[in-house]
């Protein structure tokens, strides 16, 4: 692809992302903020699956970031953007501690173990009113402080402002994850996933890299949680329950996890289906139904996810002519 074409593509995408909230209704703008944050969640989830492990505790890690950031801002008075970073760091550290027991397991046992660990954390939030606020959680979390950029006055109660802010953070996160995947570390992740014994024989500590993937992915999930907490101003244990986890799992699987863009496609398509289509025809409660059927349908008929569909289409359009690692 010629350089200028790439530049035009990047500029067009940037313009589209900037213009997007202005063509939407107010409630759709809110959904857009959530979707942006969810993209970070689902992409960080994929980072973990690069080493071959599937967790059911990822959304709880998001919650750890949300709770930590909320508490730091509210009880300690930490400047909100800094609290968010510390929230992400807390999630990463909690993941590091959890990796000690969890990575004695693999496959299904890791899945169940991560669920148990996540539920324990969630129940601790529920049980201990101080400092976690019990079942009702934490309310009136400090919002992002407003500031004036000259060309745009950021008032973060407004979804458009928060969308720009979240977009910036999420893109930065995605960029780092993308770089990691394309770096030699990403190569080692792939090696650990597909031939763990051959990787060991090459001197790679499989456990160390599984831990690295878990810590990184949890850190980004925590960042996403912090973004969410300071936007809606409240966190509670139910926001991070297994139902949310299943939604993340659905985005990832329906989109496909072999490529970087697969989970993003899954998240965007399902959010649009859910929020635009279902809400318009008044079938919002049908969400689990649609998600469930899509999940079954994907596993049965499109095992590589929507990305595969895009991939086939792109062969005609040469849209993504370069095949990413781990693609079919």
């Amino acid at each position: 692809m010629p350089r200028w074409l790439v530049a035009v593509g990047v500029l067009a995408t940037a313009a589209l992302l900037l213009a997007l909230p202005h063509v939407l209704s107010f409630s759709q703008r809110e959904v857009l903020v959530f979707m942006t944050i969810n993209i970070l969640v689902v992409c960080s989830y994929r980072l973990l699956t690069l080493t071959g492990e599937w967790s059911l505790g990822h959304v709880v890690m998001m919650g750890v970031g949300a709770y930590a950031s909320a508490l730091l801002a509210k009880k300690v008075g930490v400047f909100v953007p800094l609290a968010m970073l510390l929230g992400a760091f807390t999630a990463a550290m909690v993941a590091l501690v959890l990796s000690v027991p969890l990575f004695r397991m693999k496959g299904f046992y890791f899945l169940i173990g991560s669920f148990a660990a996540g539920e324990i954390i969630r129940l601790l939030w529920k049980r201990f009113r101080d400092p976690f606020g019990g079942p009702k959680g934490i309310k009136r979390i400090d919002p992002m402080p407003d500031f004036d950029l000259g060309i745009w006055n950021f008032t973060f109660f407004d979804p458009v402002s928060y969308y720009y802010f979240a977009l910036l953070v999420v893109l930065a996160g995605l960029f780092v994850m993308w770089r990691v995947e394309k770096s030699p570390i990403g190569l080692v992740f792939h090696a650990v996933h597909w031939q763990d014994n051959l990787a060991r024989s090459a001197g790679i500590s499989v456990r160390a890299y599984r831990t690295l993937a878990l810590v990184l992915s949890s850190g980004f999930a925590g960042l996403a949680g912090a973004l969410l907490a300071h936007y809606i101003g409240t966190v509670n244990p139910n926001m991070f329950d297994i139902e949310q986890m299943v939604y993340v799992l659905t985005w990832a699987i329906v989109g496909g996890t072999a490529t970087f863009y697969g989970p993003i496609i899954g998240c965007v398509v399902l959010t649009v289906v859910n929020e635009i289509v279902l809400r318009e025809i008044g079938l919002e409660q049908g969400r689990p139904m649609i998600y469930g059927m899509l999940l079954i349908g994907t596993v049965l008929f499109l095992p590589k996810g929507l990305e595969d569909l895009f991939h086939r289409l792109s062969r005609i359009g040469l849209l993504f002519s370069r095949q990413p690692r781990g693609g079919q």
Partner: protein
């Protein structure tokens, strides 16, 4: 005879009540091409897995350059210079040939996590690629560097498996049935490669079921049967050994 690089002492492995390896002793001299043979079920592969750290021994020990490595995890043993290959051309099928070799250089040039997070390219990453190309050239695979490993021919896949193992310049490499399924021409090519590997400075321990190929290249051969040491010697000594003939013939009678 030079000093032993690898020494196996009273090595035993039990699976439940079954003694897969029983009080095995042998040693591999530095710079040798050493064969470990025996009929099916003799415990060769288990021995191999015990040495490389894939299994933990029930008792006994494995010494590498005089240091006890028994019971260490596989990646630790690899870092001490003992690397193995796997049967059935185990490779990273979805990676390119070059990327496979780069994984093999992990111990020489371990990637730096923080550099990856920051998106920095380090000199060691380039060094890893150069070393990978070097080892591919050694095995005659440089022309295929950008192909996916799974699209290689069978013989090339076998060579790539060895390239991955040797990319880190191990002091000893354990080859798991390198001749299985090869035609005579491929076998000759593989034998040449082994001499080349030794010239490059690595000691070789081969586990092989097929006796013919191994006779031509090994300096010494250790024979196992029923998990125990049977005999050891130079190829022509082993070939004429009564019990070895019996062990193999007895087995083939059963198979017939």
């Amino acid at each position: 005879m030079s000093e032993a690089l690898l020494e196996v002492r009273n090595l035993s492995k039990r699976f439940g009540g079954l003694k897969a390896v029983d009080q095995l002793n042998f040693s591999v001299a530095e710079g040798a091409i050493h064969g470990l043979i025996g009929p099916n079920g003799a415990g060769k592969t288990t021995t191999f897995n015990l040495i490389s750290g894939f299994y933990r021994p029930s008792s006994g020990s494995v010494l590498l350059s005089g240091e006890d490595i028994s019971g260490m995890p596989m990646h630790r043993i690899a870092r001490r210079g003992l690397v193995r290959t796997f049967q059935h051309s185990t490779l990273f099928a979805e990676l390119s040939v070059l990327e496979n070799a780069v994984v093999g250089t992990y111990m020489l040039y371990p990637p730096q996590t923080f550099a990856a997070l920051a998106g920095l390219r380090l000199s060691r990453d380039d060094a890893a690629k150069n070393r990978a190309r070097q080892v591919l050239e050694f095995f005659g695979l440089l022309d295929h560097a950008d192909e996916l490993a799974r699209s290689l021919s069978h013989g090339h896949q076998r060579a790539l498996g060895m390239a991955v193992a040797l990319a880190s310049r191990p002091s000893i490499v354990l080859l798991d049935e390198p001749f299985t399924g090869m035609n005579p021409e491929e076998t000759r090519g593989m034998m040449k490669l082994m001499f080349k590997i030794r010239e490059a400075g690595a000691t070789i321990l081969i586990v092989e079921h097929d006796m013919r190929a191994i006779m031509g290249i090994c300096d010494r051969i250790t024979v196992m049967n029923f998990g125990r040491f049977l005999t050891e010697g130079r190829p022509n000594e082993v070939r004429r050994h009564d019990e070895v003939i019996e062990a193999y013939l007895g087995k083939s009678k059963q198979n017939a």
